[in-house]
């Protein structure tokens, strides 16, 4: 069990999301960056789809009540506090073994979001095939909401023999966000298209798991077609432009249908980058074709496989407290392998 000692900003349990129910109005949800989620799981010795904790900006402070392996997927300033009060830094892109009573302080995130995997996964009951939290309807995760102080999270019980680390931290691309035009491309003037692909946009403070509202050039609708459509389906990555001309990029928790024209849709390979976007960040767009989008998806999948295949056993930390703590409980950890 993991106890939440402090949780300043939204942190929610996520997995690959809840596909198959969008015709019922149920959003997809799931990790904003499924690649980093997979990395975090691999570092902790978990299967790819184990439920993780997704954090934004600042991670919570957690006390571990059982021997536990964790994986840090993200750019945290994390520390582990032993039962004697000594603190040691917890490296990013690395797995760590914790003993009962130790405290994990995840601290500030230099990446917009980050993932904590715990051995065995966060064991909330699956809802419609997924443990992902969808806060708006109070579905999934821990009671359908983000973590609050005092929460107790079930994890485990599986413990890996060792934990892993990445040889090299993964980097997010910094080029323009690539999009496929449409499905309502014709609702926008030539000037709007020129601005959309030529100008820079800024992420506003209205940025959460449902979407990002952008500031920048006002994108004009074709007067003959107007600013509304009879609702049709949307998807994470769809870029809606309401009457005020300010684009909204939809993300994992977006509704299933929407009534604003969509100028373009972010390609699958670039979507996770937007999950990391913070208020004030600048965004540019580039339109590409479907073949290039498919090639980008393949390249991303291959790169992730390479990254996971190149993991190394984590360097051992000489931590008597962890060894004794672990062995005192039930001897699950072999002292010789308490990395």
């Amino acid at each position: 069990m993991i106890e939440v000692l402090a949780a300043a900003l939204p942190a929610s349990i996520q997995d690959f999301g809840r596909p198959g129910y969008r015709h019922l109005g149920m959003p997809l949800s799931g990790a904003l960056d499924p690649e980093w989620m997979r990395i975090a799981n691999a570092l902790a010795g978990n299967s790819a789809s184990a439920a993780v904790l997704e954090m934004r900006l600042v991670g919570p402070r957690l006390r571990v009540h059982q021997p536990l392996a964790i994986g840090l997927g993200g750019e945290f300033s994390a520390t582990i506090e032993g039962r004697d009060g000594t603190r040691r830094p917890a490296a990013n892109w690395c797995g760590h073994q914790l003993a009962p009573g130790e405290i994990l302080e995840l601290g500030n995130l230099r990446s917009g979001i980050g993932y904590l995997a715990a051995s065995g996964g966060f064991r909330v009951p699956p809802v419609l095939g997924s443990r992902s939290t969808y806060v708006r309807a109070g579905i999934g995760g821990l009671a359908g909401r983000c973590l609050v102080v005092g929460d107790r999270l079930d994890v485990g019980p599986d413990l890996p023999a060792s934990v892993q680390r990445l040889g090299q931290a993964p980097r997010l691309d910094t080029g323009p966000i690539r999009v496929i035009a449409g499905p309502q491309a014709e609702y926008f003037t030539a000037a709007a298209w020129s601005d959309f692909l030529g100008a820079e946009f800024t992420v506003t403070r209205e940025a959460d798991r449902m979407g990002l509202r952008l500031d920048g050039s006002r994108l004009e609708h074709e007067p003959a077609l107007g600013t509304d459509i009879v609702s049709d389906a949307v998807t994470p990555g769809a870029i809606q432009v309401p009457g005020d001309g300010k684009p909204i990029i939809l993300l994992a928790d977006c509704q299933t249908v929407g009534g604003y024209p969509k100028i373009a849709t972010v390609i699958g390979a670039d979507l996770r980058r937007l999950g990391h976007a913070l208020p004030g960040q600048k965004i540019r767009f580039a339109a590409i074709g479907l073949d290039d989008a498919l090639a980008a998806r393949r390249a991303a999948a291959t790169a992730l496989e390479h990254c996971l295949a190149a993991m190394l056993p984590a360097a051992r930390e000489f931590n008597l407290d962890a060894l004794y703590g672990a062995n005192l409980i039930d001897g699950v950890i072999d002292a010789g392998h308490a990395d």
Partner: protein, 239 residues
């Protein structure tokens, strides 16, 4: 002619038109049924709306061209009596605390509250799509004299299970939510049941339903029975 629109590289929309029109909806549902029959590997979600059908898919497992060809074939499918369509009878307690806008709707339309209830219960409604919230049905179409614009000021909280109308449409809120529609009554029927993984949403696009008017004491009896698990979805289904 229907047209294909790419919604990014992981979704494809078959668009039949850009209006709210039962004839378009019939084509959407027919093509949906035909596509489900094809059972293509790599499709994750099939979402019908008033006027279009969107297929969410994994382009690494299912080629976009293969899906496009299949969708255009399905677009020609004729409306059949859908095997998935069901008829429902949904009890509603109208007016009073459950339907705080009933009197205002009656005044705005120049009819009596009883006439509003009678008309609603006499109209066979169709589920055109689910959206906005999980299990939230867009129902249509209402007789023209009942078409009203949304409330000037939306409510901060519409109670769960409220029956509401706006324009040509009616809806039932499965969850408490902000909303700008006119609240006419409340149903004891549970519209979204997370325990039922086979069919979590009671209603499905293409279904038909009628409302029946019930008194407040019946409403409370139904509510108790639903909470106790004594009335499952089949209780509200018409043969």
């Amino acid at each position: 002619m229907p047209r294909l629109l790419d919604l990014g590289d992981g979704a494809l929309t078959l668009e039949f038109g850009d209006r709210i029109d039962p004839a378009l909806s019939a084509k959407v549902m027919a093509s949906r049924d035909a596509l489900v029959g094809e059972a293509l590997d790599g499709i994750t979600d099939v979402v019908p709306t008033w006027r279009s059908l969107t297929v969410h898919f994994d382009p690494l497992r299912l080629g976009r061209q293969r899906l496009a060809d299949c969708l255009l074939r399905c677009a020609d499918a004729l409306m059949q009596k859908s095997a998935l369509a069901t008829r429902w009878q949904i009890p509603v307690c109208f007016g009073g605390e459950y339907g705080p806008d009933l009197d205002a709707v009656a005044i705005a339309t120049g009819r009596s509250p009883e006439a509003v209830i009678e008309t609603l219960c006499a109209t066979e409604l169709r589920v055109f799509l689910l959206g906005f919230l999980p299990g939230f049905p867009y129902l249509g179409e209402l007789p023209e004299w009942l078409h009203l614009p949304r409330r000037a000021t939306p409510r901060g909280v519409v109670p769960a299970n409220s029956l509401a109308i706006a324009g040509a449409q009616a809806a039932i809120y499965p969850w408490a939510s902000p909303g700008g529609w006119h609240l006419l009554g409340r149903t004891p029927v549970r519209l979204f049941d997370l325990a039922d993984t086979g069919r979590p949403a009671l209603l499905a696009p293409g279904d038909n339903l009628r409302f029946t008017s019930i008194k407040a004491d019946s409403y409370r009896q139904f509510q108790v029975a639903v909470a106790a698990g004594e009335l499952d979805a089949s209780h509200w289904r018409l043969p």
